[in-house]
């Protein structure tokens, strides 16, 4: 109970502080993951202040609450088949969670597809528990079965924290997904001519005060890919990578990406492979 109160206070305080630092104007471009302020940022500069505050509250990341809920959901018998997810194979064998996120997305023989964590969890919910994947795909972030997926994501991701990102491109389908993702990353379209690369292909760039990682090189990609999923203070919710990408595309002025569609997995694959060798720091804490 006391812990909940502390989380609440931390969230409120962060919201107030960060609201003061940002403006109501929306950044029009994709911000997959804001990198920490560059070391060259002068002390007292607004970006440095935000970074200081992030470090201060990092101890009490409300993503913990999602992790706890996710663990319960993982073990609970649910769905038309009244089964738990404890036999779900995330790529390291049935039920193995430790380190699974650090090597995703990857190719799965049983679906003959490259899958990210969320599409894989949905596969398990369908095959082990009997849920209808179409319903989850049609759903909304933060609601219904998709909310359960998000909590399970938090639980799984936390068990790869601190591990080295090591995503394979050995299988031809993995290599192909990487190439498709790269192409999508550079695909310019829409009324503002944006692609992911418009904002994420150069070092040291910002939208307003928000640092933009260069996702086309290892350092920036590991900062970006390695920090998500994250608890997002400005919205007070836990954002999975699918959620993050959905909002990227919204601000890119694209049509809406379908949940766990191939494009979202391909772009994830591109970022993850570029991040290889970096540290998985998620679940993170973001503006």
């Amino acid at each position: 109970m006391r812990q909940h109160w502390i989380y609440g206070a931390a969230i409120a305080a962060t919201a107030v502080l960060l609201q003061a630092c940002t403006t109501p104007a929306e950044a029009p471009k994709k911000a997959v993951a804001p990198a920490p302020a560059s070391p060259s940022a002068p002390a007292g500069a607004p970006t440095a202040e935000i970074e200081k505050y992030r470090a201060m509250i990092a101890d009490g990341n409300p993503a913990d609450l999602y992790e706890m809920a996710g663990e319960e959901l993982w073990k609970k018998k649910m769905g038309p088949m009244n089964a738990s997810l404890e036999k779900c194979d995330l790529g390291m064998g049935p039920g193995v969670i430790k380190g699974a996120y650090a090597v995703l997305p990857k190719y799965f023989k049983d679906t003959n597809k490259v899958q990210d964590l969320e599409s894989r969890i949905v596969t398990c919910m369908e095959r082990l528990q009997g849920f209808d994947s179409k319903e989850i795909i049609k759903g909304t972030f933060g609601r219904g079965q998709r909310k359960d997926v998000e909590a399970i994501v938090a639980y799984v991701v936390a068990d790869s924290k601190g591990m080295t990102i090591k995503v394979s491109t050995k299988h031809p389908k993995e290599k192909e997904m990487f190439e498709l993702g790269k192409k999508s990353f550079f695909y310019q379209a829409g009324p503002m001519d944006f692609s992911c690369a418009s904002c994420h292909a150069d070092p040291g760039k910002r939208i307003r005060l928000q640092d933009l990682p260069n996702l086309t090189e290892q350092k920036g990609a590991s900062l970006g890919w390695g920090a998500w999923p994250a608890y997002r203070v400005s919205s007070g919710t836990f954002w999975t990578m699918q959620y993050r990408l959905n909002d990227c595309y919204r601000q890119q002025r694209f049509p809406e990406p379908i949940y766990i569609s191939d494009d979202t997995i391909a772009v994830s694959m591109y970022m993850a492979v570029m991040a290889n060798g970096g540290k998985m720091a998620a679940p993170g804490l973001k503006r």
Partner: protein, 202 residues
């Protein structure tokens, strides 16, 4: 010997076929991965010449065909409309509001709501605003540094309307070309940059 020629011929033939297949696969992936939502309809995925040209990482790295770039820039230049009234400079106070707002054109925006220019997202403009991005150059003292002559005025008008008329892979949205801003809004943003009384030019 003959075999060698055959292998070379097959390889040369296979390369373009392979890339055509990859293109078809990519197009299908894009088509299957998005859905229309509100004003963000699926036709937004269709690329015009500039978008297509600038989606190639090699082009962005400076290895694009300069003739192609020039042709696309020329075509974009030809679309720019000068203000019907001949008035280029509006009200800088309203222009500041347009520059501040980054709203518009997403699937959560209503069609009737006014768009913003989102200028501060990428540019420093009035120094009083410390929350600015750095994807574009600083516009502080824009008119003071360049002067207020017709040449500067026309160039600035054109650049806001269709930045790709000057730099085919410019990161700046084509505010006039895609009707992101109205003529009046663009006149007001012009004033923010080019009215000698604007705080930008103090």
């Amino acid at each position: 010997m003959n075999n060698k020629y055959l292998i070379t011929a097959v390889t040369l033939l296979a390369l373009p076929i392979g890339s055509a297949l990859a293109d078809a696969k990519f197009d299908k992936m894009m088509k299957d991965s998005f859905q229309a939502n509100g004003i963000a309809t699926l036709d937004r995925l269709n690329q015009d010449a500039a978008q297509k040209y600038c989606s190639d990482p090699a082009t962005l790295a400076g290895k694009g065909d300069p003739k192609r770039a020039e042709a696309i820039q020329k075509a974009n230049m030809a679309t720019i409309k000068q203000p019907a009234s001949g008035k280029y400079i509006g009200d800088w106070k309203t222009g500041e509001r347009v520059a501040q707002s980054g709203r518009g054109a997403t699937w959560t925006d209503k069609p009737e709501a006014a768009n913003g220019g989102g200028c501060y997202n990428c540019h420093q403009i009035n120094k009083a605003e410390v929350s600015y991005g750095n994807i574009g150059p600083s516009l502080w003292n824009y008119g003071k540094l360049r002067g207020y002559g017709q040449e500067v005025v026309t160039y600035t008008w054109n650049r806001i309307n269709n930045s790709k008329a000057y730099n085919v892979c410019s990161n700046m949205p084509r505010f006039g070309h895609f009707n992101l801003l109205t003529e009046k809004q663009m006149q007001d943003v012009m004033a923010l940059l080019l009215d000698p009384n604007s705080p930008v030019n103090q």
